[in-house]
Subunit: 477 residues, 2 copies
């Protein structure tokens, strides 16, 4: 029995049990380990390397648009959390409390940040004085803690990693512009780095962030037809500014409140990568986020010249993230292992290849094999990696497109939600009762409100009253 | 009154009140803000950018030597912390305790990691099976929490940022080699990036890390003659391995315990940068760690061509981290501000400079001014930055060298400690009583034990018994 057969036995088929397939991949691709701490995961080297790649790409985008990194404390005093009413109501039930430091029982309890709006606001209140101090375009990369009742690696964990951006602006227009600029950057990041297309929209009032005036979201479609809220960007208006007294003197020497935004993308995105691109052989990573873009597997490694040729091949691919697997495992084992880890491109090189001044290239996304001449190999490999990105994006776009449905009435709507995993487009009057009825009776939620000029004559799919919004509904992670 | 005069009034002189001077710099150079949380600081963009630079440099060194980044949870269950006896005794008195999550009072309290040996050990016990899994060379960049009674920005804070490396090896020799390899990398990092020379040595048993067999340290000399423990590297032997049952089957199929190390450098290093290099005009940053290496200040900015020339100048310096200060402040204000922030090189460009196809270069370290032709400016600026690094390193080396003393008897020793801030080299018998007497009567501590071949006939500076070690003693932060 080859390693490949053995491994294929070990992973559940995606179509048989999607949830178990997902769990198999996160463990067997060595992305995470379960930790001794309830709901917290260990990001192993390979899992963390994916996050590091995402960080590097988005950090570059943030810096290019004038954002600066900072670090706020891990703790929030209870009184500070309580300053903005909606915010504390949203978060207080799900936070971890520090009540003792050393031998000392604390006179005021500390919250471990579930998000850091309150800390940024307190800092802005202290440091912003005039229009010259604006805008503040701050971001931090950190972990936050939410006391989740049931958890799944990447998708919902007690502690998770993210970036949280917090900005302050002189007026509403600029803050709104920032909110949407960031939303577009998340779309770009998903499409151009992770090969995942997203749908952009606005959250309903019920689904929006605690304390936000408006929450925008990018929603992605998983292979099982469920949605993943992939990143969010919030416009706060001056609500936090009033609660925290963040004022500035404008150019006319008048005292004004700032307008704020906040926005974040988290390690959930890695869950998305798995559920959009993975298959029955394991993970498939788009080349731009893959920690290892090309794995070189020497064949008949003991034969003279093979290892040297593998190293020479690696040398000529120095523009890419390349690894040689020169362990003493059998080639079949190695193939299966790197397929499980989703390495986009495998190059095999053995005595016969060396004779022919070539190597064998195997695409992870399609399994397609082709002989590549070693002359100009860098160029050929680069073209293949680009082709893999495009092809994976097309495949994911096809998945997204074929999972869209429309429903004009309640029966069609409930049939679709029950029978066809995907997004159902349907009109909504805007009442929270109708929204709640959808959730109670179908387990689907409003994923986002999308722009439309076709409201005229449309009716709410739930109550039949005149529609005020076009909504995308779906079951979600 | 110019801004420069005003600012110089605002900062305390280094020689008048070193401690207040330090506090003035951390605040006025906008490195940190005090936070609403006791003992925790906010790293503002400029302060965090210095830490990002240090991270980037050391992360590169770590990856080049085969180390991999991971992320462990923030929490440690109380029972896990207790597994290694010395370790828990050392840390339990100074940790923050989480006792409640959401509405639920926890059945087992969680510690916020003061350091993560216990988590790494639990993970290693689970994932290491055979010699093929070794060595494990893991590192994480994170923050940790220690419930400090009195705190100072960077030097001692309740939460601080660091990297913590944790490695597991097949045998003692390899683990010892790793311990010292990392110690040397810390030395390189301080010397080559931060322009700070260090003294390397081993900690006494009393001063070593809780649970370590041996702790190695790099000690740096601050401008006031006090020491800063600048980074540490620990050899654990198999003590943690036995407590956590971390075994592997070796090449002969025998079950063995791993040998481990851990090591870290933290945001304390930024305190060191300030106290080694700063002067009465503020911070002075060595070019390789400076977030902004060159600031371009346009003079007579309103005159035609000046801003264009400044931008052209920036273009030609694209190999460096360059900022143009085109705010509407007066040039004198700008000079003072960038001196306070320690920007290594200032280039002034105005109408007359443009006429002469030149700019005026001002070194932050010496204040020296020189006219630089705009042709080949990149090369000239590069040479100047290198010269600044060398010159700052020489100055710091001179400071270190002139602060070394020797004492053969107790009277000389106590006189030196009381009267001459610096390091006192003196022999020691090795007894904890003598070490304790030094601390009680002089406030100095043993900074490190250094290699010597001159023990013969030497006596302990405290008790007069035969000496077993040459020790460097000093007061420390």
């Amino acid at each position: 029995m080859t390693k490949k057969e053995k491994r294929v036995e070990q992973i559940t088929s995606r179509d048989v049990d999607f949830s178990q397939w997902y769990t198999d991949i996160v463990v067997k691709a060595e992305l995470i380990s379960y930790s001794p701490v309830r709901g917290c995961m260990i990001l192993r080297p390979y899992g963390f390397a994916i996050w590091e790649r995402l960080q590097a790409e988005f950090d570059r985008m943030l810096k290019a648009t004038g954002h600066e990194n900072v670090a706020m404390p891990l703790f929030i005093p209870e009184s500070l959390l309580q300053k903005e009413k909606d915010h504390v109501e949203g978060f207080a039930p799900e936070v971890a409390w520090v009540t003792q430091g050393g031998d000392e029982v604390l006179s005021e309890r500390l919250v471990i940040r579930p998000t850091s709006e309150t800390l940024f606001c307190a800092h802005y209140a202290e440091t912003i004085e005039s229009w010259r101090d604006l805008p503040k375009l701050y971001n931090q990369w950190c972990s936050v803690v939410r006391w989740e009742k049931s958890t799944r690696p990447f998708l919902r964990t007690t502690e998770f990693f993210w970036q949280e951006g917090h900005t302050a602006h002189a007026d509403e227009a600029e803050a709104r512009e920032e909110t949407l600029r960031i939303l577009n950057m998340y779309e770009d990041l998903y499409r151009d780095v992770m090969a995942i297309p997203v749908i952009k929209g606005r959250k309903s009032d019920k689904e929006k962030f605690a304390g936000a005036r408006e929450t925008y979201t990018v929603e992605a479609m998983m292979h099982d037809g469920k949605a993943l809220q992939a990143a969010t960007s919030h416009y706060f208006g001056d609500g936090f500014a009033k609660a925290f007294d963040i004022t500035f003197t404008d150019r006319n020497n008048e005292l004004k409140y700032v307008h704020q935004t906040s926005w974040g993308i988290s390690t959930r995105s890695i869950g998305g990568l798995i559920m959009v691109h993975g298959d029955d052989d394991g993970l498939r990573l788009p080349p731009r986020i893959a920690p290892v873009q090309i794995v070189i597997v020497p064949v008949a490694m003991h034969k003279p010249g093979v290892l040297d040729a593998a190293h020479a091949l690696k040398e000529s691919l120095s523009d890419y993230r390349v690894k040689i697997d020169d362990t003493d495992k059998m080639p079949g084992w190695k193939f299966a292992e790197h397929e499980m880890k989703g390495v986009p491109l495998r190059l095999e090189i053995g005595p016969r290849d060396i004779e022919n001044n070539a190597c064998l290239a195997v695409r992870r996304d399609t399994g397609e094999k082709q002989v590549l001449p070693l002359d100009n190999i860098a160029e050929a490999a680069g073209r293949l990696l680009e082709a893999i990105h495009s092809s994976m994006l097309s495949e994911a776009t096809e998945l997204l497109n074929k999972s869209q449905y429309e429903a004009a009435d309640w029966v069609t709507f409930t049939d679709l939600i029950a029978g066809k995993p995907g997004f159902v487009h349907a009109y909504w009057c805007g009442s929270e009762d109708c929204e709640a009825k959808v959730k109670d009776e179908t387990q689907a939620t409003s994923r986002c409100l999308v722009e439309t000029d076709k409201l005229d004559g449309r009716t709410c799919v739930v109550c039949g009253e005149p529609a005020n919004h076009l909504v995308i509904w779906g079951k979600a992670y």
